[in-house]
């Protein structure tokens, strides 16, 4: 029995009514939510918009963590350049000096205001992006 043509048309129309808003939703939101990653060297070399949320990563410089109550301040380095980071709140447990860290937030004048510290590490406690950016600087000493 051939599929009723009118019915098939109905299905196609419904399909389009349904799919087009979904695709519109996806496309509309996709580009807005892409978060780029920069190393401290990238931040120094490139002009990066202060309006956009970005991620930066590197090692937390030894002796740079300053904490008063919930305000946290530290320096992220790729061993060539540094960025000062400010954060309010509790850092994840894996966040420590000398370890890799990735922070998400916005750049302001000459510091980085972090909204989130990501403590996602592999078994060697080194975020891949951080390892890559340090390798790029030729400072990699595993």
């Amino acid at each position: 029995m051939p599929l009723n043509k009118k019915l098939r048309l109905n299905f196609i129309i419904l399909f389009l009514c349904f799919f087009s808003p979904a695709i519109w939703l996806i496309l509309d939101n996709f580009s807005d939510n892409i978060v780029f990653f920069y190393s401290p060297t990238d931040i120094k070399m490139q002009k990066i918009s202060q309006a956009k949320i970005i991620r930066i990563g590197g090692l937390v410089k030894e002796g740079s963590i300053k904490r008063s109550n919930l305000d946290l301040e530290f320096i992220v380095t790729d061993l060539s350049n540094d960025v000062k980071v400010k954060y309010n709140g509790i850092a994840p447990t894996l966040f420590r000096e000398g370890q890799g860290a990735v922070v998400k937030g916005k750049l302001s004048a000459n510091e980085f205001i972090a909204s989130e510290i990501l403590a996602k590490h592999d078994e060697n406690y080194m975020p891949k992006e951080v390892a890559d950016s340090i390798k790029k600087q030729g400072q990699w000493r595993p």
Binding site: F15, A22, L25, L70, T93
Partner: protein, 637 residues
């Protein structure tokens, strides 16, 4: 000695797999040989996993894998589970589960012997690829010279009971999807698709779906307890990559029903089965190859990436190629009423496939982007919140509408008007108690309630509860078909889950603060007072245990004791949250940064209303799948 036996065992398993593929190609006719070879694959792959676990138990540090991931002081349960807490061991577990389900298929399948052997031949091909990967590029039995005296320990985040349960359950779901994949491919090759094939495969599809649901649920609860951020889903690429096969498997469970009942959507169902298995492979290997950056990912080795990419591409090209060449042969064309459960399944598949595309784009795009441009990007949570959630709301309402639609129904309009208005009243009542939320949250509550009330109303109508006759109702309950019950259970679970997720993620609040002995921190009507700090030495870590006395609106709740653990071997620390969970809400405390100098700690307090609904919903949801798998009689393996 151990590594040698382990390797030998792997190689014998590979030989069995290779012979199961090659010998039937050379010799003619049906052969029982494949069956024996499959048993051989199982015995020897299980042997090598057993040896690896034994190596962990006795802490044999001449095995590099054990050295890198274990330590003598580690508790036994994490020595055993630690065997699959790393890349090499986890793939070995995967392949073992595959060998195990091949045996189950061999013994219990009701398909004719010839088909069974052919399907197992395809399964052996999948098995051989992975076992080759283990032997050549991801060998868990690599030696380390000289033998170290002590191991490096296991990432403390993984030292949780979740490790013993979450990966095996999830992997079981992944490998179960290979059976419908291979079976449908075989039917394409044979150019015939008997109706019984779909019936045979339904159990496997249900098993895939149920184990994936359980696995994802366990993973989520692990993250909630252990990560200390009070969250249960982070839209992390790794979580997403387990959600992709789940969405496809959900679609497959439904579309296969149409194949069974009406003989339609055959090609689509075959394609879905192929996609589900490919997504399962992607889920396993995206996580395990280090391509994804997340709490789950392990160190990257380019050789592995290349092997996996080649393997995946070969499987994808073979399966999709066969599909493209042969799919024209099947399927009948029948009329489909627009207002029927069958049409509902059609929409269900559209929705789920769209959700799959949404997640797939957000997960795969950053990887491709990085390969092409070299820059690292990630897709923010906002993308998923703004796409996945609105689409899901539509899915819930369609689900409620179509799964309760009846052919012989004259009070159609009244029924759905009633459900709609009931759900609206519910949302208004909630908004009175929980004001100030975005419109999408209320819409989500509406959708969840719409589904729930539609299902419950339908059930009541079926058991004729309105007649107020106890014996009649009981008879009706007994008379309901089990497949109807399974559908009812799962859909109610889904509704509860949706309501729970909406409540817990909309009206959560949190506060961070510093506490010294005797000081208090307030959040809403909760107060937490730090009574004291205690140092404890347990197994392989030292813990600072905070004793917090918690009151709600002046009434005693009790003492909550979050911990911060310091693992000496791993030189790392974790926080163990303390959760006071009642039906209405979870009160959650996690602590960090114990500072010995002024005896203070930093704590984060969380309130998540109706958090328990998420776990209840997830349990009911997966129970529906298992119920259907175990108790619905018409099925065979």
């Amino acid at each position: 000695m151990l590594p040698f036996i382990g390797n030998l065992s792997l190689i014998i398993a590979l030989i069995f797999a290779a012979s199961a593929i090659i010998i039937p190609l050379i010799s003619q006719g049906p052969t029982r040989f494949v069956g024996n070879a499959v048993i051989g694959q199982f015995i020897f792959s299980a042997g090598s996993l057993g040896i690896l676990i034994y190596g962990y138990i006795i802490s044999d540090f001449c095995i590099s894998n054990v050295y890198h991931n274990s330590h003598i002081s580690k508790p036994l349960i994490y020595k055993i589970a630690g065997a699959w807490a790393n890349h090499e061991g986890s793939i070995l577990l995967w392949v073992n589960l595959l060998a195990m389900i091949n045996i189950i298929f061999l013994i219990f399948s009701k398909l004719d012997i010839y088909s069974r052997m052919k399907i197992l031949q395809l399964q052996s091909l999948i098995f051989a690829g992975i076992i080759g990967f283990i032997i050549f590029v991801s060998n868990p039995f690599n030696l380390i010279e000289p033998t170290p005296i002590s191991g490096k320990g296991l990432n403390p985040l993984l030292q949780d009971i979740g490790l013993a349960m979450h990966p095996p359950a999830l992997y079981l779901g992944y490998v179960c999807s290979s059976v419908p994949f291979a079976t449908f491919l075989w039917s394409l090759i044979k150019k015939e698709f008997p109706q019984t094939l779909a019936i045979h495969m339904h159990s496997w599809i249900l098993a895939t779906w149920s184990f994936l649901t359980i696995g994802i649920g366990l993973g989520s609860s692990w993250a909630y307890r252990e990560l200390g951020w009070g969250g249960f889903w982070f839209w992390d690429p790794v979580e997403n990559s387990s959600l992709m096969p789940w969405l496809l498997a959900t679609a497959l469970v439904h579309s296969n029903l149409l194949v069974i009942k009406r003989g339609i959507l055959v090609n689509w169902t075959i394609l879905l089965a192929i996609f589900t298995f490919l997504a399962s492979l992607l889920g396993t290997f995206l996580v395990r190859s280090g391509i994804l950056i997340s709490v789950h990912s392990f160190a990257n080795d380019p050789k592995r990436g290349v092997y996996i990419l080649c393997y995946f591409t070969i499987i994808a090209i073979i399966s999709l190629g066969i599909f493209a060449l042969r799919s024209g042969n099947f399927g009948t064309r029948k009329q489909l009423s627009l207002l029927s459960q069958e049409a509902g399944i059609f929409f269900n598949n559209l929705y789920l496939f769209t959700l799959f595309i949404t997640i797939c784009l957000g997960t795969i795009y950053p990887i491709l982007y990085q390969y092409i441009s070299g820059n690292s990007i990630s897709v923010g949570e906002g993308y998923y919140v703004k796409t996945f959630i609105p689409i899901t709301l539509g899915l819930l309402i369609f689900c409620g509408f179509f799964s309760t639609i009846r052919h012989k129904n004259n009070n159609f309009t009244i029924k759905y008007l009633f459900i709609t208005s009931f759900s609206l009243v519910f949302v208004m009542a909630i908004s009175y108690q929980y004001p100030k939320a975005s419109i999408i949250s209320y819409l989500a509550l509406f959708a969840g309630m719409f589904l729930l009330s539609a299902m419950v109303l339908d059930y009541f109508a079926k058991i004729e509860i309105h007649k107020c006759d106890m014996t009649l109702t009981l008879d009706k309950v007994k008379g309901l078909s089990r497949s109807y019950n399974a559908m009812m259970i799962s859909h109610i679970g889904l509704a509860i889950l949706a309501i729970g997720i909406t409540m817990a993620s909309t009206w959560d609040h949190e506060i961070d603060g510093e506490l010294k002995e005797g000081t208090t921190l307030k959040l809403a009507n909760y107060t937490a007072q730090l009574k004291g700090l205690e140092l404890k030495k347990i197994h392989n870590y030292v813990a600072v245990v905070a004793d917090l006395y918690v009151e709600k609106s002046g009434n005693e709740i009790g003492h909550l004791k979050p911990e911060q653990r310091f693992y000496n071997v791993e030189k790392s620390q974790t926080s163990e949250s303390a959760i006071h969970s009642v039906f209405l809400e979870d009160f959650y405390i996690s602590m960090s940064e114990f500072s010995p100098s002024n005896n203070s700690i930093l704590v984060r307090l969380f309130i998540r209303p109706f958090m328990s609904l998420i776990w209840i919903g997830a349990v009911i949801l997966s129970f529906g799948g298992l119920y259907s798998l175990l108790f619905v009689p018409r099925r065979s393996l």
